[in-house]
Amino acid sequence: MKKEKALQNYQKKRTWLYDLKMNRWLYLLSVPIIIYFIIFNYVPMGGILMAFEDFKPAKGLFGSTWVGFKNFKDFFCGASFFNILRNTLVINLLNLAIAFPMSIIYALLLNELHLKFFKKAVQTIHYLPYFVSMVVICGLIVDFCSTNGPVTKLMVMLFHIKQENLLQNPAYFWGINLVSDIWQGLGYGAIFFVAAIAGVSQELHEAAAIDGAGRLQRAVHVTIPGIMPAIVTMLVLRCGMILQVGGDKILLLYNPSIYSTADVISTNVQRLGIEQMNYGYSTAVGLFNSVVGTVLLVISNTLSRKLTDTSIV
């Protein structure tokens, strides 16, 4: 304590010039790091101005014509606005409503396994799909959902649907995306909850057991309240990201015939911006996305603090 106090005083008293002299090597090392973050993080932030311009690379950031909110107006009034927003929301809400509770239930079920080696072995296997590259995962999806693929065959057998390439039919995309997300992320997505469950007090469990609570009752009344802070934290984070769909998976899976259900904000930004060189418009869409994301994060964080006394900030 004393030492810390002394250090603080020492730090306060020290002038910048003296510090520069004493720590010249540290200052020298800081220079490339500062330059790095300026070039790759701060300069692009200035590029947000492009959202209010009819940006032409040849004219540069300060030479292009100012158009005010025209890019935003084009986006909100555009023919695809409703579609993109709906797809983004539906894909994320499906994930939140189905995949998210599933990973909690999965963690609870895992906790009920009593053979230690078995638990470890299945966990290891369940993590595996998460570490396989997205290109390979999507390659598998493309292969399995093709006209003659095993998944298509199974669906035809079970639900008597038409035998076709499932990725060409807009009606199936949300389902394919959700199921593959669950398959890939269930094991790994639960790690956070598994760690939280391990942290629930053993004494509470024992007390409940002595009072005659069964396994199910203890899961509901001891474990779940115990991991509530973890659940709320994850939920808040997920709500903040409700407009951010992992664009790389959809970019690999979609094609023009299913744009009606598969095109989301991030893929739209990428297609219009990089491929069609509609820079100003794309920047505006990206900016809209991050502003709404930040607002949602703040709202959900405030709500969770009010309701459960848990917040991430």
Partner: protein
């Protein structure tokens, strides 16, 4: 019936409902494990199957079809595109692990210094970038301006410093006992000597997490390369060639020259599966060793950047 629970010494009831639940639970866990492995197993089996029989098949393979053949692998391992991709990916992985980890360590060290007046402002300066960013298009325009598009450096420079890893290193250094450092300082060691000789061995576990996730992320990454290297096939990482073969279903661009004649042969059918295995095997081999760091990594935040 009453039995004593092994782990906590609790008294446990084992009624019939408990037994049914256990059977269902263990059954589900096994079933899901099979579901996780089956697709990858299928690809491995398909890659050594008879290509003619493979054409007619449409189920999940549990064992190779027909006579085992290595034709597909021979073709893939002699292919110039695949070898180029492999070489590039290896270069990007090694570079990012070595240079990236060292820079992250130095930056984290600087931010953790208590006797360094710039440490706090520098930390805030870096943390700000975790919350706000320019987005895809402005970043693209900056890269274009400084000539990084279709340039190998785009895969090697912008990813070097990761703000999340950096902050993690900073807190790891801060948690160390300052005694080690002070005695080194008395012996006349400079800041870099202190960092690499004294402190590095003490934060080995954190370093391992960063290295593991760097390897996996760089190995699996395809998106930045697809945007920033659109016309530089010779700089592409393996994943981009794999995308061409697996997703766009286009083996013609990869199988050129002497292979083209062979491509007419059904063997090209195997290429898809062989490439998947060749591109995934290193990750699968590293996986058992990396396992113990998963929990730390998961609580650290997003893994796939």
């Amino acid at each position: 019936m009453i039995s004593i629970g092994k782990s906590s010494g609790m008294v446990e009831k084992t009624g019939p409902s408990r037994i049914i639940f256990d059977i269902l639970n263990y059954g589900f866990m096994i079933l899901f494990a099979v579901a996780c492995i089956a697709p990858i197993w299928h690809v491995a089996m398909a890659s050594i199957s008879d290509p003619r029989m493979l054409m007619a098949n449409s189920g999940i393979l549990w064992k190779p079809l027909g006579k085992i053949t290595m034709k597909g692998y021979r073709m893939v391992l002699h292919n110039k595109s695949i070898l180029t991709g492999y070489g590039n990916t290896l270069l990007y992985v090694v570079w990012n692990v070595v240079v990236g980890t060292i820079s992250t360590m130095v930056a984290g060290f600087l931010c953790s210094r208590k006797d360094f007046k710039l440490a706090t402002p520098l930390t805030l300066f870096i943390m700000f970038t975790m919350m706000f960013g320019g987005g895809l298009i402005p970043t693209y325009m900056v890269y274009r301006q400084i000539g990084l598009i279709n340039n190998r450096l785009v895969m090697m420079v912008p990813g070097l410093l990761n703000a999340f890893y950096l902050i993690m290193m900073k807190s790891a250094f801060e948690q160390l006992d300052s005694g080690y450092e002070e005695s080194a300082k008395i012996d006349g060691a400079g800041p870099l000597t202190i960092l690499f000789r004294i402190l590095t061995p003490l934060v080995k576990a954190n370093l391992a997490v960063i290295i593991m996730f760097t390897v996996i992320n760089v190995w699996n990454s395809w998106y930045p390369a697809s945007i920033y290297l659109p016309r530089a096939r010779n700089l592409w990482p393996l994943q981009l060639f794999m995308r061409e073969i697996l997703i766009q279903n286009d083996t013609t661009k990869v199988l050129t020259g002497t292979d083209a004649a062979k491509a007419a042969d059904l063997t090209s059918n195997l290429v898809k599966y062989c490439v998947t295995i060749v591109g995934t095997l290193p990750i699968l081999c590293a996986y058992p060793f990396a396992q113990k760091y998963f929990v730390t990594g998961a609580t650290l935040g997003g893994v796939k950047g």
